[in-house]
Symmetry: C2
């Protein structure tokens, strides 16, 4: 090695030792007779010292080097007179005897500091420089440590990591596949996997019993802030299990990560909430349970009292803002604007102030008397001094708007402890969703999800009511993962495909290999897949998964650093028997 130590490891105990360090110039300062250089590598920062009096030549040489130069310095570890106790190496410095420039650097296009002056676009183009910044580097290291701990835990539970293929078959179902033209077989294509779902099920049929894989998956969708064309899943499957076995196993994984990565010792069982309850109480299947403020249904109380806005709607519900009775007109207007945003979608906001003196003031005083409003309050656990916020409309949409209003109020009132984690399982999702456009059912999870045993009779009578044996892990309002107990019976699988509008031929063409496999002894099995990027982002304290990917694509799916996608040569297209045409 060109060095004897890293820039993060020297301490007072190394005093008087001769060492050689390599790294980048973070900054340098000339203070009269002394020059100080902060030298950086992956492991930390160490201060170098050059003394004009004792070695003017070396000191002058040091004064010429700029930021981000790569240097190699040999010297003696000294105790600092001016200690910096904010960094582990802050008690020592290196009195340099000799140094050389390993490589020069032009002035970087933005500062390589904790907080940089570079804009998003510029930092993406020079991602390799942005990765030098401590907050970005830390994210990538966090990602590695989480991956390592995932593997350690699953290995300890007898799981085996098996690589499934990346060049698979395109299925017209679901979100869009990326495809890969075959050169050997003109006109034919592979597809990149959106998930290794069918392969992990085949591995269960093969008897692998407990499988996992940290695996790249691909989805050619419009890329929102938290989506990337390529993303990483922690993909898992187990045989001879019931739902509870899976929840316990992966609750164990989450607890292991809480403890090892966040030093957060969560010992209780994770709460389990029915999908229907989650929607009713939080308006969403991804509730942030770090604070209460549950949604209350007051449809029965408020409907049919002569207020037209309410009388015509399916659902009326609200939340109780503790201590909010004093909200000003302006504050209430801001909240009304909030719920009326197109992405929230409410028509308006009704408020009821439960004043401290026991009086009630609302925006619907004309239609409801105090007694009626106090019934709302009692129903919504409103006390004197609280504020009730009520929305009305189509049930699903109104609950959605209430879920957003609840989060907004949680943020506003600082009810959300950013330093805690509130995990829970959501269970008993609907198996099917009716799609008005195509006039048929879609699988809410995927077509391999089994129904809850008690609901099997509904296949004929009322498929929309069937509950799936499916579950999601939600932490702090973020869906971290989801899975299900799978169908392992070929009849049931065929029935499901029929329900989803597949002809027998289509089912055979797309999933024939799986249906075939079911003939030869498929064990009962189930699994789960976690969005690894999102889990890392959650632990890192950010909403954007992009910050946790070494070389991400932008929201247009473009890697601006290497400038791709890009055009192919005519020769390459000819080799692939392809021609680019207009849409």
């Amino acid at each position: 090695m060109l060095r004897t130590h890293t820039c993060g490891e020297l301490r007072l105990s190394n005093k008087e030792r001769e060492v050689t360090l390599c790294g980048w110039v973070q900054k340098s300062r000339d203070l009269g007779g002394m020059t100080f250089i902060d030298m950086r590598d992956r492991y930390g920062i160490t201060q170098l010292v050059f003394n004009m009096e004792t070695n003017a030549g070396l000191c002058n040489k040091a004064r010429k080097i700029g930021r981000e130069y790569v240097i190699c310095s040999t010297g003696i570890v000294n105790e600092r007179s001016n200690k910096n106790l904010n960094i582990p190496t802050g008690e020592i410095e290196i009195e340099v005897k000799e140094f050389k420039v390993l490589n020069e650097s032009e002035v970087p296009p933005f500062t390589i500091e904790e907080k940089t002056d570079g804009g998003e676009e510029l930092r993406m183009k020079f991602r390799y420089l942005d990765l030098r910044r401590k907050p970005v580097k830390k994210n990538i290291i966090l990602r590695y440590e989480m991956a390592r701990e995932v593997r350690k835990y699953l290995d300890s539970k007898d799981f085996i990591e098996v690589e499934t293929p990346a060049l698979i078959k395109s299925t017209p179902e679901g979100a869009r596949d990326f495809v890969v033209p075959s050169r050997l077989k003109a006109g034919e294509f592979y597809a990149l996997p959106q998930s290794p779902q069918t392969f992990k099920q085949l591995l269960m049929i093969s008897g692998f019993d407990k499988y996992f894989q940290l695996v790249k998956c691909f989805r050619d969708e419009d890329f929102r802030a938290d989506r990337q064309p390529e993303f990483t899943q922690i993909d898992c499957e187990m045989s001879f299990v019931e739902r509870n076995d899976i929840l316990e196993t992966f609750e164990g994984l989450a607890k292991h990560l809480f403890l090892e990565i966040k030093d957060f010792d969560y010992t209780d069982a994770f709460p389990r909430l029915l999908y229907s309850e989650a929607i009713e109480k939080y308006g969403t299947d991804k509730p942030d349970t770090r604070f209460e403020m549950l949604i209350q249904d007051i449809t029965e109380l408020a409907k049919g009292k002569g207020f037209k806005v309410f009388d015509s709607v399916e659902y009326i519900g609200g939340i109780c803002v503790k201590g909010g009775a004093g909200y000003s007109r302006k504050e209430l207007d801001t909240l009304t604007d909030f719920v009326r945003k197109p992405q929230i979608g409410a028509a308006g906001l009704i408020y009821v102030k439960l004043n401290n003196d026991g009086t009630v003031k609302s925006s619907v005083d004309k239609f409801f008397n105090e007694e009626e409003l106090k019934k709302w309050a009692s129903n919504m656990d409103g006390k004197n001094g609280d504020l009730l916020l009520v929305l009305a409309g189509e049930r699903k949409k109104t609950l959605y708007a209430l879920s957003k209003l609840r989060l907004e109020m949680g943020e506003k009132l600082k009810l959300i402890d950013k330093n805690t984690f509130a995990p829970l399982w959501i269970v008993d999702f609907p198996l099917l969703e009716w799609d008005d456009e195509t006039h048929r059912y879609h699988a809410m999870h995927h077509p391999f999800t089994s129904a809850i045993m008690d609901d099997h009779h509904l296949f004929v009578t009322d498929p929309g009511k069937i509950r799936a044996n499916a579950y999601d892990l939600v932490i702090n309002g973020v869906e971290i993962g989801g899975g299900s107990i799978r169908i392992h019976d070929k009849q049931e699988q065929a029935e499901m495909f029929r329900l989803l509008g597949f002809s027998d031929e289509e089912a055979e063409k797309q999933f024939g290999f799986l249906m075939n496999a079911f003939k030869y002894g498929a064990p009962p099995h189930g699994g789960i897949a976690f969005g690894f990027d999102r889990w890392v982002a959650l632990f890192g304290g950010s909403d954007s998964i992009r910050d946790y990917i070494a070389f991400p694509k932008n929201t247009a799916g473009r890697d601006v650093m290497i400038d791709t996608p890009s055009v192919l040569s005519d020769e390459q297209l000819r080799e692939l028997s392809l021609k680019v045409v207009n849409k």
Copy 2:
């Protein structure tokens, strides 16, 4: 869990315990009043016993189930009267009190046994059944264990696994890229990586210091027996290193795997052989050093003695077969046929028998007298009783043919100990290869490989003679991995691109981001990449990497199980702005 134990864990110490096991029916035997079923899962096989006398109903039910049925059985652990000491569970059996069929199975298309009656094609189509067979399952588990140990070792050495992108940019250089059309950007394409080479170099420039990744790579070539369109690399890179640091670090990895996986304690330093020596002594840069039989150059001795075949050639060399003087005419003819095969390419074989009585008999007695032939013998370390085999021709081709002849003789004479490992490093490869077709140099490793410092003057005078600072790890004649110290200076990199015939524009277009990155403080760095599939195959004792991949493609690049590649719908093609045309 549906079970209390696996089929691999019960022992005599569990005697009299009530247990529930799940698994597949391996086989069943009716012996008069008793029925025995061998039940299999990932962990082992356990014998179930049904007694006609004590429970005729259950026994009759058991007699109806076939091979590969999935069953769940509850019973008592008993000591066997007839112990099978070949399996860990062979001292006990389960006296079944209750069992149910979890899933039925049709008769599988081939037997699920150690040795099967199924042909290659059939087993590929039903890969999920082939994976149930012990030798195949074992391979996949070996692969997992190796991956786990690779990660464990590299983590202990402070390496960080970083995921690099799978959707990158196509480069016309080198073997062929798989490409991925972009839907959002009509007419543009991503490419799948042949290796993450440039990304790992960027990570060094970012200061990640020690990187690794077990990563899928892709190459659209004609797929020979040991090639797959997708394969897995152990990709590694380090900063602030010299060659020796890399060799020592990864020699450590190989020794860790030898010890943990093969229980083979290799404590010596791996031999290091110059590329030029490897070619001279073994005829190949992938020598199998488990046996000697080195090639000797006798050009000086044998040329210019009036034997026209020799006088016109560049090179004459041979090997000495110990104790081979007694070879019959027929055996020698077989060897002649061997070297004449098109894939070996020699014109003929010359032999010299050094008889036990001190006389010499050769196929060139007319042209060389005994004294001359004895000089050959002395040069080739031939003793009485030995046989010299000599080839002549163009140097490179003849050495290649000799390397194949050496291996053939090693096999034939059983000189190769299949239970040992002979690792070595090959170093100092040529940097460039002249290509007669394109009339320019090609990079032997890749264009980012640095030259050995002493050879820098040859860039101008004789580029073909420059030695690269590159190295391969070879074990038992198999190239397991290779790497180099990289160029980290932008001038040197530009010079290299020019030498390889890139115009400055082409270099900029393809590798501009890397050249640009070199401007901002690139550290000295180097790395290595191992062919993981091949390493697993070597440890598993097979030549074919396909046996160590859960779902491999066949030699036509096709997955016959899922039947891909396949055609896309017109709608999908339209979405991608593509049309399939004839070549």
